[in-house]
């Protein structure tokens, strides 16, 4: 078992999950529409005043993205758990770390990228300026993978439990708060024409650390849940 075969397996896992997700396109699309609807609820409840909406826009879009990610994460391991594939994945000689990373990457490509692509449109809806729109997409680009990775830990812990959807949010949302703070901080910096660099750098650091360490925790959680 060498690096080439590990990389081949990683590519295969990503391709497999994306194919399976494509066969259930509705799931990914419904996440997207949930995102759009939640963002639209805020102007409806707060009022159409542009200044106000512009000031809350980064927070609103980010929180909606966070909630939409939580929803889509429930599906990360569920299908494989139900039909026994997940147990087989635990038993392979290939490192589980790569399998988890592959699955999260696939889920991000299927569910996360649409969110990131749509976010500038929603930003326009809320009256954001052009640089802010760009920064919004950029911060989500760094942030949503972090949310997916931390969420994968929660999904693995709550595998097969009743009420796991809400429990997942309860477990994972406090851990996502730093990402939320720095992500919205970056966009708000552009709103007041300050430099968003510091926020983006910290967000990047959080991203790197999470990519390295979160899958390890997810593997541990999977082994615990599947004993």
């Amino acid at each position: 078992m060498n690096t080439r075969s590990q990389f081949a397996m990683f590519r295969w896992i990503v391709w497999r999950d994306m194919t399976l997700a494509w066969r259930r396109r509705t799931d990914a699309l419904s996440t997207l529409f949930f995102f759009v609807i939640v963002v639209s609820l805020f102007p409806l409840s707060i009022g159409p005043e542009t200044q106000l909406l512009r000031s809350i826009a980064p927070g609103v879009v980010w929180v909606a993205a966070l909630l939409a990610s939580m929803l889509s994460l429930g599906r990360l391991f569920a299908n494989d758990y139900v039909d026994g594939t997940l147990e087989q994945m635990l038993l392979t000689p290939q490192p589980l770390y790569l399998i988890v990373l592959g699955k999260v990457l696939a889920q991000w490509l299927v569910s996360g990228i649409p969110l990131i692509v749509i976010s500038p449109l929603l930003g326009v809806q809320l009256g954001l300026s052009q640089e802010s729109l760009l920064m919004l997409a950029a911060s989500l680009l760094l942030g949503i993978p972090v949310l997916s990775l931390i969420g994968s830990i929660g999904t693995a812990l709550t595998l097969g439990l009743r009420g796991s959807g809400v429990l997942l949010s309860l477990l994972v949302l406090p851990l996502c708060i730093p990402t939320l703070i720095f992500g919205t901080g970056a966009v708000e910096a552009t709103l007041i024409s300050a430099s968003p660099e510091a926020n983006i750098y910290v967000l990047g650091a959080v991203f790197v650390l999470t990519v390295v360490f979160a899958p390890w925790a997810t593997c541990a959680a999977l082994r615990i849940s599947l004993e």
């Binding site: 009420g163 429990l167 309860l170 949302l173 901080g185 925790a217 615990i224 849940s225």
Partner: protein, 258 residues
Amino acid sequence: MSRSKIHWYKYASPAHFYPLANKLIPWVATVAVVLFILGIYVAFFVAPTDFQQGDAYRVLFIHVPAAWMGMFLYILMAVYAVIGWAFNVRLSSMMASSLSITGAMFTCLALVTGSLWGKPTWGTWWVWDARTTSTLILFFLYIGFISLQSVIDDPRRADRAGAVLALVGVINVPVIYFSVQWWNTLHQGATIRFLSQPTIATRMLIPMLVMLSACWLYSIAVVLIRLCCIIVEREQSSVSFTEESTRENGAIAWGADK
């Protein structure tokens, strides 16, 4: 005890630890009550009235110990949970479960008393400054841990899942605190800033420390009582438990019919 060494590892068995805990609880509880009474006396009769805040600052003598206990108990809980997971020691995980509820209680108390202190001193019931927000997030972390453990039916899975969550949580706590501080400095604007207190006067420090010790001992007593309940609930059917308890005490200490 004879001149032979105490075999400490014996007490890692729930059945052996149980009688030891039962012996400790009354002593710890009594000292806790004494310290509480002493603490309240010193807090109200010895500590002077504050120049700026009047008598409202006396809330601090229960607020600060509660906040500290909330934090310490979380770290302790994580340590016990990880030990229980890494070394497969059941008693350690039971201790973590026991600590979680008391810790959550203290954190909630810290939030409420903090509000009650904030109203007369800052003018609002709630302020989104770094410390209050971090305490709120800590409360959420506790609730997550408790919920996870209560939903999982299999006790060993619950122990290990809780350990992973606690580990991730305890690593995140400094990150969360730092990010909340950053967020707070970004959004200074209209928020009232709570300036860090200058070095605290001795006559105010003593009641604080006495109350803190009282809270520690109260926590130890309550956590041990709950631990005993958890031991009985989980180990009732195990042979070692019934044998040990009957051999050492003749009957389970609190179950003896009197």
